[in-house]
């Protein structure tokens, strides 16, 4: 069966692109706030002011003639990530894990010359990867060290966690795992694995690759049934706090776990995608409705997280099939889906 029915999607509470653009982005995200998240330097500064951990900024390049200074800038660091400041969807990110004799090594082991990096930086400055092709700037960040929990769940890239935050309430989460098919990138379209994560516990719920269920990582063969995201509460609180930080009501927060520094925010997205629903095998609509039904938004991120954990915890786990003893969430969700 290639197509599913509208009725089925509606009964699951799946939100479509039109509904997302109209009812979520159009409604909760005022346009003038977009630059806060579209410009990663601004986001970084904001996050630092709010006391949120972010990867360390090693340097920036704003002008073409500064490209020549790149060699000096990079010489001090063995590992770094080069990013377009206004890039989207993980485009234009260059990761270097090792530097040796004027050769730079990518996670795949391929070696590139300095000229390659210079051209990459120059392309970014010309606006190749930015929204609408506008001239851009380049930021160089410290490389995140993979948390041992995820070691066997990733091929080349570092897994990142996408949390959808509606008006400060984390409502759905997904872990994105790079695969060989996705060329080390955490982009679901290109074949990365999306793992739905239980808001209540941080456990893996369900996983998909190319929209179809998978039960273990396609490259490492490691099953997802043992996967639990550590620092779960801290992580949700970080995500929830981004609402106060940006003022955006519908936000995709991308978080990575650093081995040494714990969870940190790497990117915010004002137009988060909808594949997270497939990864969770659940629709966003009932959870959106639950948040919209609230009379007022709790100003404290921690208590918002508690609300989310109570209400959006999974009723059943599709990877570890067992009923969870959580009567409150059960009745609440059952009432919602009726």
């Amino acid at each position: 069966m290639f197509l599913t029915s509208v009725k089925r999607l509606r009964s699951m509470g799946i939100i479509g692109m039109n509904q997302r653009n109209f009812g979520l982005i159009g409604r909760y995200n005022p346009r003038h706030l977009y630059p806060l998240v579209d410009d990663k330097l601004k986001t970084k500064r904001l996050a630092q002011e709010a006391g949120i951990t972010v990867p360390r900024l090693l340097g920036t390049v704003h002008y073409q003639h500064d490209v020549r200074r790149l060699k000096d800038m990079l010489s001090a660091y063995n590992q770094f990530v080069i990013k377009p400041v206004k890039g989207s969807g993980g485009k234009g990110i260059l990761v270097i894990t090792e530097q040796d004799h004027n050769l730079y090594y990518k996670p795949s082991g391929d070696a590139v010359k300095l000229s390659h990096i210079e051209r990459h930086v120059s392309n970014i400055l010309s606006g190749l990867h930015s929204l609408g092709g506008k001239p851009d700037a380049v930021m160089i960040e410290s490389l995140i060290q993979i948390d041992p929990v995820f070691e066997d769940y990733s091929y080349e890239g570092i897994p990142d966690l996408r949390v959808i935050v509606l008006q400060g309430y984390p409502i759905m989460a997904m872990l994105r795992l790079a695969t060989h098919a996705s060329d080390g990138r955490a982009n679901l379209h290109q074949g990365a694995v999306g793992v739905g994560i239980d808001i209540g516990t941080g456990e893996a719920l369900h996983a998909v690759q190319y929209g179809d269920p998978v039960y273990f990582h396609p490259d490492t063969r490691k099953p997802f049934s043992n996967l639990t995201v550590p620092h779960w509460d801290k992580l949700l609180e970080l995500a929830a706090a981004c609402y106060e930080m940006t003022g955006l009501g519908y936000l995709g927060v991308d978080i990575v776990l650093d081995r040494d520094q714990g969870p940190m925010i790497i990117e915010l997205n004002a137009r988060p995608g909808l594949s997270i629903q497939v990864a969770n095998f659940a629709g966003l609509a009932p959870r959106v409705a639950a948040v919209e039904a609230l009379e007022s938004i709790d100003p404290d991120p921690q208590s918002r997280v508690q609300f989310s954990k109570r209400n959006f915890a999974a009723v059943r786990n599709l990877i570890r099939p067992r009923r969870r003893a959580n009567p409150i969430a059960f009745t609440l969700l059952a009432a919602k889906t009726d």
Binding site: M1, F2, L3, T4, S5, V6, R8, L9, M12, I14, G16, M17, N18, Q19, F22, G23, Q64, K91, G92, S115, R119, S122, N123, S126, G127, L128, H129, G133, D183, N187, H189, Q190, H206, V208, G211, D212, P213, Q277, V278, F281, G283, R316, L318, P321
Partner: protein, 516 residues
């Protein structure tokens, strides 16, 4: 919710204005809703010949009366060096006059009229009151014969209408009796017969007059007017064919003149005669309506695209098709959910396809884009700045297009010459974007978006080249309002896109764990 209420009010307003204007143009101004409606336009030329005698010349000529059922498109008068004036502008009795101080030899004057029957269903009735019949002066024999004839006819009739029909039929009877033969005088012409009927009717006390007109038949030359007799039965005028007695106006009969006034008067000339030639043309109804609207200064037409020079009108023909393309893009993206490279690039491709025809256009597009992608992949190794690279791609595109033109010309494929209609800058950007897409998201995404753009372009092309659509958009620019309303409504659609039914297809399956 207030915002959506406001939107729907605006939508309904726009929709009603659009539909209202369309209906007004269709019902009142007579614009046909379909492009196929054709009308016959008759062009009648009256040629007046006479021999001038060297004295001052005055030619006076009767023109056909304007009837509501007929639309006079054009009236032309031509003569060599004659003064010209219209004598009376009375719709019923129009006359023109040519004059000259002195003329010698054969003289000719022309009058040309283009006329067509419009759709107004008003049966035109002459409204003038009849003159009381004047008793004719006849000699004894003739009078006796007439009275006898009238008596026989009267015996068979009940009212003036039946009487007249009976009278004409009796006079035209193939086996006339002595009386009839005397009256009829078979050697005399049409005019004699008309006079006879009018005299007999006058004796009977019925008001009557002669009506001259022209049978409209295509390609007739040297025609003359045919006489009809019109009687007044006390309430209205009734027209009779003086040869058959049939009442009513035949369908293709153009009434030229009513009453006994002369058709043509020539002072200062002799051997005057007038002959008519008739041609039938087929015109589209739309042109006729536009023409008559321009003449009548109907505001909606006078202040419309039709008032622009023809060249700009053709440009607008194209521009007015763009909203249709935009609507298709909106439908494809919002309802179907097809990804295209560049939101409105499909419309531009569609416009190019219109110039090149479908298959040629697609082939050319594929050749240019794939060659461009090849060359672009080489350029990406040259380490260029973005703007320089796109400019380089533009030049590459132009080179490809030029070579396609030259090669196809040498091969005798004239269609491929149309390649120049493709928007080159847009093509260059498409190539640049697709090549970046290729590097970043892989060839699959390039094919998905490329195919999506082409599919949308082809669908837009099919709609934009549809004759009816083309006709409607150009002749009813108000359709844009309807289109706008549709797009505004579609902008509110929050349901699933068709492609999302596939995207979320795994959600449709009952999960394995459900079966437990």
């Amino acid at each position: 919710m207030q915002a959506s209420a406001r939107l729907y009010t605006v939508v309904i307003l726009i929709l009603f204005t659009g539909i209202g204007l369309i209906l007004y143009k269709h019902l009142i101004l007579g614009f046909p809703l379909m492009p196929d409606e054709k009308k016959f336009v008759w062009t009648i030329e009256a040629k007046i010949d006479f021999q001038a005698t060297g004295e001052p010349v005055i030619v006076s000529f009767a023109l056909p009366p304007k009837e509501p059922r007929l639309t006079f498109m054009e009236e032309d008068f031509a003569s060599s060096d004659y003064g010209f004036s219209e004598l009376s502008s009375d719709e019923e009795q129009r006359r023109v006059q040519w004059s000259k101080r002195s003329a010698q030899g054969a003289q000719t004057a022309y009058y040309r009229l283009s006329v067509y029957e419009n759709d107004k269903l008003i049966e035109s009735q002459p409204s003038d009151d009849p003159l009381p019949p004047q008793k004719p002066e006849l000699d004894e024999v003739f009078l006796t014969a007439s009275l006898t004839l009238l008596e026989t006819v009267r015996a068979k009739s009940a009212n003036p209408e039946i009487f007249t029909r009976e009278l004409i039929q009796t006079l035209n009877s193939p086996s006339p009796n002595q009386n009839q033969r005397l009256l009829r005088n078979d050697k005399a012409g049409e005019n004699y017969k008309t006079d006879l009927i009018l005299n007999l009717l006058a004796l009977e006390g019925i008001s009557a007059r002669v009506v001259r007109g022209l049978f409209l038949e295509d390609g007739r030359r040297r025609q003359s007017l045919t006489n009809f007799v019109e009687i007044h039965d006390g309430q209205k005028w009734i027209l009779f064919d003086q040869n058959t007695g049939k009442s009513g106006k035949p369908g293709n009969f153009l009434i030229w003149q009513r009453g006994g006034q002369s058709l043509l008067d020539v002072i200062g000339g002799k051997n005057s005669q007038v002959s008519f030639s008739i041609i039938k043309n087929i015109h589209s109804t739309r042109n006729l309506v536009v023409n008559s609207g321009m003449h009548a200064q109907a505001g909606l037409i006078d202040f419309s695209i039709y008032s622009l020079p023809i060249e700009q009108q053709t440009a607008f023909k194209m521009i007015l098709l763009l909203p249709i393309g935009a609507l298709i893009v909106v439908i494809m993206r919002i309802l179907v959910g097809i990804r295209t490279s560049g939101t409105f690039m499909p419309i531009l491709i569609a416009l190019a396809l219109i110039q090149t025809t479908l298959v040629t256009g697609i082939v050319i597009f594929l050749i240019v884009v794939s060659t461009g992608l090849l060359i672009r992949s080489y350029l990406s190794r040259l380490n260029l700045l973005l703007v320089a690279r796109i400019s380089a791609v533009i030049i590459v595109v132009i080179t490809i297009i030029a070579s396609i033109s030259i090669i196809s010309h040498k091969l005798g494929l004239s269609q491929a010459l149309q390649v120049t209609f493709f928007p080159m800058i847009i093509l260059a950007w498409t190539i640049e974007r697709m090549s970046v897409l290729w590097e970043e998201d892989g060839p699959r995404e390039v094919f998905v978006q490329g195919a999506g753009s082409l599919l949308t372009a082809v669908i837009a092309y099919l709609f934009m080249t549809n004759r009816t659509v083309e006709y409607l958009t150009f002749n009813f620019p108000e359709l844009m309002l309807v289109n706008l309303a549709l797009i505004l409504i579609l902008g509110q659609y929050t349901g699933y896109r068709l492609t999302e039914l596939y995207r979320f297809h795994s959600m449709g399956r009952h999960h394995v764990s459900d079966k437990r």
